[in-house]
């Protein structure tokens, strides 16, 4: 991984660290839940749409380049729709999952205000959900946030109890971005259908990783993004089940079935579809192995490590651990100096200087949240990288525990 094995002399651990730090040969990128590397094959697929096939996707009575662009756009839409068993006309391209989340909530709430003013969500949603709902509260909507268990699960029973006759919408994420906990959206969909309430799920972290069937799961709205599955940044989609009454959210032309105006980002959309096509069926199994290897390696060598999330009910791409008695930003910085990129839920790292609201909602103490590190994987990670990370993480944690005043029995 470092390229060191090809050198004519033997390098010790320190040299490898030096090698990575200063030669910048390669980095170990374990922040794939934030974003992923855009696959080169995705970039290749996108390029002609910048300089060659750049026409606007237009009506069937347009010039040939416009009709060809429309065909490419429709083809991309079909690929993405098929991945979740949706119809083409139900997929509306957006600038990403944040836009999709904003408009799923605001679009439904504003269009269906006459039916009721109550919306249900959870305590661990993405900020684009939380902030959108804050806006809606100012407009007179009431929001119920369902609590989560210590592993991050929302109980279907709690949802059942929370639904009232004014409830118009339920929004529960499919997979949590910090802990990887997978929600039982099939149950939630069933409950919502039985109670005649619309169901939205944010699938930014799950799409392409675990199967989604919008028909079987009774999903009415679903948010997607391209950049978490090796697609480009700035592209996503909102699935809106056929027949749902929703306010148009970008006014202008008739693009995207008259739901969102504006010239489509065709290169981005082509890249999104290519990224979806490139996902191999056995990819998730490979990633699961990497996660297990890292977790086992660390558990074997360190005490007082807490898994934040669920081993059985978590997505293979995310491993969130708390190293007790130390603070996460220090761990992050030490790992970064060794070429490894991770994320922490520590307050010192966050822009609000508060620990992760997701971990605290799961009942972690502030200390446990401060000491949390999220490792997240992709198909581009290797076993060698994982082994290198185990060594580095154990070394850094031991070093920081040694200087911490709260480490017991030093």
């Amino acid at each position: 991984m470092t390229g060191a094995e090809f050198l004519p002399f033997k390098l010790d651990k320190f040299c490898i660290v030096y090698y990575i730090m200063y030669m910048r040969i390669e980095r170990v990128y374990l922040d794939n839940a934030a974003t992923t590397k855009c696959d080169e094959r995705v970039v290749d697929a996108m390029l002609p749409f910048f300089t060659d096939r750049y026409a606007v996707a237009s009506s069937q009575f347009s010039h040939s380049p416009g009709i060809e662009a429309k065909e490419s756009l429709d083809n991309a839409r079909r690929i993405i729709a098929e991945r979740m068993e949706a119809e083409q006309e139900e997929v509306i391209f957006t600038s990403g999952a944040t836009e999709a989340n904003n408009h799923a909530l605001k679009g439904i709430a504003r269009a269906q205000k006459s039916k009721g003013n109550h919306i249900i969500t959870t305590a661990v949603e993405h900020r684009s959900i939380i902030e959108s709902l804050k806006s809606l509260e100012k407009e007179g909507f009431e929001v119920t946030k369902l609590p989560v268990t210590s592993e991050g699960f929302v109980s279907p029973e709690a949802l059942k109890r929370a639904i009232r006759k004014e409830t118009i919408l339920v929004s529960v994420q499919h997979v949590n971005q910090e802990t990887g906990t997978i929600q039982d959206i099939e149950s939630f969909g069933k409950i919502c259908k039985a109670k005649n309430v619309l169901f939205h799920t944010d699938a930014a972290l799950s799409f392409g990783r675990i199967p989604i069937d919008v028909r079987r799961y009774n999903i009415d709205l679903l948010s997607l993004t391209a950049h978490k599955i090796h697609g480009p940044k700035g592209v996503g989609a909102l699935y809106v089940r056929d027949g749902i009454d929703m306010a148009k959210w970008m006014e202008g032309g008739f693009n995207e079935f008259n739901r969102r105006a504006g010239t489509e980002n065709i290169p981005g959309i082509i890249g999104f579809a290519k990224a979806v096509e490139l996902i191999e069926p056995d990819e998730i199994g490979y990633i699961a192995q990497l996660k297990e290897r890292l977790f086992d390696g660390i558990k074997k060598r360190l005490d007082a490590v807490r898994l934040n999330g669920s081993i059985k009910g978590g997505i293979p791409t995310i491993l969130n651990l708390t190293f007790r008695f130390i603070e996460g930003e220090s761990v992050l910085l030490h790992l970064d100096m060794r070429g490894i990129a991770v994320l922490t839920g520590s307050a010192c790292f966050s822009r609000s200087l508060e620990p992760s609201y997701i971990l605290t909602a799961m009942g972690l103490s502030h200390e446990e949240a401060h000491g949390s590190i999220r490792f997240s994987f992709s198909r581009f990670n290797t076993e060698e990288e994982i082994d290198y990370t185990i060594d580095a993480a154990c070394d850094v944690v031991k070093k920081l525990r040694k200087i911490s005043p709260i480490t017991p029995d030093k």
Partner: protein, 212 residues
């Protein structure tokens, strides 16, 4: 390097000096807590006659700026008399370190405070301290000068967001001129609380923010 820290901060973070504990120290103090994200414990050995700090060690649960500041403070204090060491300010430490990012200053202030607290602990133990004083507005403001305004990286008194301080029958009210929903409001509230709740004659601290 693309880090927000100076080379010197990173160097001290990687290789902190004077780390560890002193057995049977002449004084010790702890500032902060794991809950608030930073905690430093400092141990002192002081020569009885000369009042000179002969040995000093620290332990840190904290981020890079906390570890680096604690480390440099121990180096600056070692060999000084306790009167000299008391005069070391946060600015001195930050200058030594080549500056700190504004948002990280609150973590490093803790490391300076712990030195003062350890010296106070020494003075208390060795009968060098005066009587307990009644809490006044001035005392409160002095303490609040240790709470950072992360927006500007200076303390909340200097940046003029402490608008009122009321003390009545053990009840202490502080008004902070920031909207309740501000990104740093919770952080500032917690730090203000930690600074003021230890005042011996204060039973309750009430912190108010600007309401819309």
């Amino acid at each position: 390097m693309p880090f927000p820290y100076s080379e010197k901060v990173l160097e001290y973070f990687k290789h902190p000096k004077n780390v560890g504990r002193i057995k049977n120290p002449d004084a010790r103090a702890t500032e902060g807590s794991p809950a608030c994200g930073d905690m430093v414990t400092l141990y002192l050995r002081v020569d009885k006659k000369t009042k000179r700090i002969t040995d000093i060690k620290f332990e840190s649960y904290g981020c890079a700026s906390n570890i680096a500041t604690a480390s440099i403070i121990t180096e600056m204090a070692k060999g000084k008399t306790i009167e000299e060491a008391k005069k070391i300010t946060w600015d001195n430490a930050a200058d030594e370190l080549g500056g700190l990012p504004p948002v990280k200053i609150h973590c490093s202030v803790l490391a300076v405070d712990v030195l003062r607290a350890a010296i106070e602990n020494y003075e208390e133990k060795h009968g060098l301290i005066k009587k307990k004083v009644k809490t006044t507005k001035e005392i409160v403001l002095k303490r609040l000068k240790h709470v950072m305004n992360p927006i500007l990286g200076r303390d909340i008194v200097k940046t003029d967001i402490v608008k009122a301080v009321d003390i009545k029958n053990g009840l202490l009210g502080v008004f902070i001129d920031l909207p309740r929903e501000h990104q740093f409001a919770n952080n500032i509230e917690q730090e203000v609380r930690e600074r003021l709740e230890t005042l011996w004659d204060i039973k309750k601290v009430v912190i108010k923010f600007e309401e819309k």
